[in-house]
């Protein structure tokens, strides 16, 4: 250990604390799952990768450093890497089309038609985005991250994040 680890970056967090993982789970699970839904567009994969993300986070919980990133950002950073690994392995990008074709038993047929329509259109549009745009859309609208948090997780500047998102939304809007 060196003092560099003690003062002052770690000083604020020097008292050992750990997150309330039950609260974290309740709060972050929807965000992570929706990130994968937007990122990959397939419910089963999204659930698998969400589970993988939380298991990784759980195993690495002792390495989480509050002074370096908020918990949400930390989790989404793990999720982002899980997605990258997955896409690299699969060598394919799932679209929302396939997912949208699976009807939900919880909804009426009429409602379902509307939803499928929206989902299909959105699936098609998201699939046409550049990978980076889609990733940022997933972080912004799937996970509900702020531009600042996205910047922190991706290493992009905040203004760059804003620009990419703006262009992506413009593309979606133009093609809708």
């Amino acid at each position: 250990m060196a003092l560099v680890q003690v003062l002052p970056r770690r000083l604020a967090g020097w008292i050992a604390t750990e997150p309330d993982w039950d609260e974290v789970y309740a709060a972050e699970l929807p965000r992570v799952l929706n990130f994968f839904r937007y990122r990959l567009g397939h419910d089963t994969e999204a659930e698998d990768l969400t589970a993988r993300t939380f298991e990784k986070a759980w195993r690495a919980r002792h390495r989480y450093r509050r002074d370096l990133a908020g918990l949400s950002t930390w989790l989404l950073t793990i999720a982002r890497h899980v997605a990258i690994d997955h896409l690299r392995t699969q060598q394919r990008h799932e679209t929302l089309n396939a997912a949208a074709a699976v009807p939900s038993p919880e909804h009426t047929p009429e409602h379902l038609v509307i939803q499928q329509s929206d989902a299909q259109r959105l699936a098609g549009l998201l699939a046409t985005l550049e990978p980076r745009q889609r990733e940022l859309i997933a972080m912004k609208y799937g996970a509900g991250m702020t531009n600042r948090a996205i910047a922190q997780a991706t290493g992009l500047s905040e203004s760059n994040v804003g620009t990419i998102l703006h262009r992506a939304v413009e593309v979606l809007r133009g093609r809708w």
């Binding site: 250990m1 680890q5 000083l11 993982w21 839904r37 979606l172």
Partner: protein, 330 residues
């Protein structure tokens, strides 16, 4: 898959947000079950106490920086002096750190430039039992004789011995003092090049779960050893350290003169503390800090020492129960 209940004719940001949906209860329950099944993660290498260790070890090092123990009339060139007997909390003024950052004078980095790690303990190693932890740390573990009902030991781990050598740099210290406007004090003569050796024995962590999201971690280590030259005006250096932390000039002077730097561990109270107070832990002086970090539960930290050992108890439960646990450690 469903994307929520919203349908609209145009893509808008609100529409995109509304397309999110909640996880299914089944998925939620299954994943929760899987995660719980992994507890305790006894077969997983862990890094748990790296931060927590600071309660014991880093604070000792911090004490070197802000309060190098006094040598008094020793004629030996090197004297091992430091033995934690008292623990005293000193509130940290976060604006001081902000000012240093603004001046690109991160204290940790500046001092870290002069730290040589002699022995790296590596990552903490989970152990199967308290007996194994005691054997690894070469001490008989002290444990709470009183525990809240339904308490279980969830995890035990040991971090190995750590040793480092710190070389003082009076120029750097002067830079910090200048940045903070500490103009009425001078860097003690003979500080530059002074070498301090710090050895922190193995640290043991025991994690308890009390149910209902209440939990406690108890850290313990044999008292750290410091070896340092016998030619520094320690109260003067300590006063500078206290001023850097943010104590007002008069208070810092009085405190620096009154304190026995041979035996006192200074615990900087972090900015997010809601309160702190001196406490008696079975006849030993300690400090109890309550704080509620963002998105975390209210936490109580108690740091105290016996002549042989330094303890830190970090607990998410009532402060009175945390203190009762600490007081029952034997």
């Amino acid at each position: 898959m469903t994307f929520g209940d919203t349908s609209t004719d145009e893509v808008s940001e609100a529409w995109l947000l509304a397309l999110r949906s909640e996880p299914s209860p089944l998925f939620k329950a299954r994943l929760r079950e899987r995660l719980h099944a992994q507890e305790p993660a006894a077969d997983t290498p862990m890094d748990w106490p790296r931060r927590a260790l600071f309660v014991v070890a880093a604070l000792t090092v911090g004490a070197v920086v802000i309060a190098v123990p006094g040598v008094r009339a020793s004629v030996a060139q090197f004297v091992s002096l430091f033995r934690v007997v008292n623990v005293v909390g000193v509130p940290l003024d976060p604006s001081r750190l902000d000012r240093l950052r603004a001046e690109h004078l991160d204290i940790g980095t500046l001092v870290g430039e002069h730290v040589q790690v002699l022995q790296d303990p590596g990552d903490p190693v989970p152990v199967a039992s308290l007996a194994d932890a005691g054997a690894a740390a070469r001490m008989t573990l002290a444990t709470p004789q009183w525990l809240p009902s339904n308490t279980q030991v969830m995890e035990t781990a040991v971090m190995g011995e750590r040793a480092m050598r710190i070389t003082a740099d009076s120029h750097r210290l002067q830079q910090v003092m200048d940045a903070l406007g500490i103009n009425d004090l001078s860097v003690p003569a003979g500080l530059d090049g002074l070498v301090v050796d710090v050895r922190v024995p193995p640290v043991v962590m025991i994690r308890y779960d009390h149910g209902n999201r209440r939990r406690t971690r108890l850290f313990q280590a044999r008292t750290p050893q410091l070896t340092l030259p016998a030619r520094v005006d320690v109260p003067a250096l300590g006063e500078i350290g206290l001023r850097i932390l943010g104590l007002p000039p008069l208070e810092a002077k009085q405190f620096a003169q009154a304190i026995d730097w041979h035996t006192t561990l200074i615990v900087p109270v972090p900015p997010n503390a809601t309160s702190f107070r001196q406490v008696d832990v079975s006849g030993h002086r300690g400090v109890l800090i309550q704080h509620q970090p963002r998105d975390q539960s209210p936490t109580t930290t108690i740091v105290w020492s016996t002549p042989e050992r330094v303890f830190a108890l970090v607990s998410i439960q009532q402060a009175s129960e945390a203190l009762a646990m600490a007081s029952s450690v034997r």
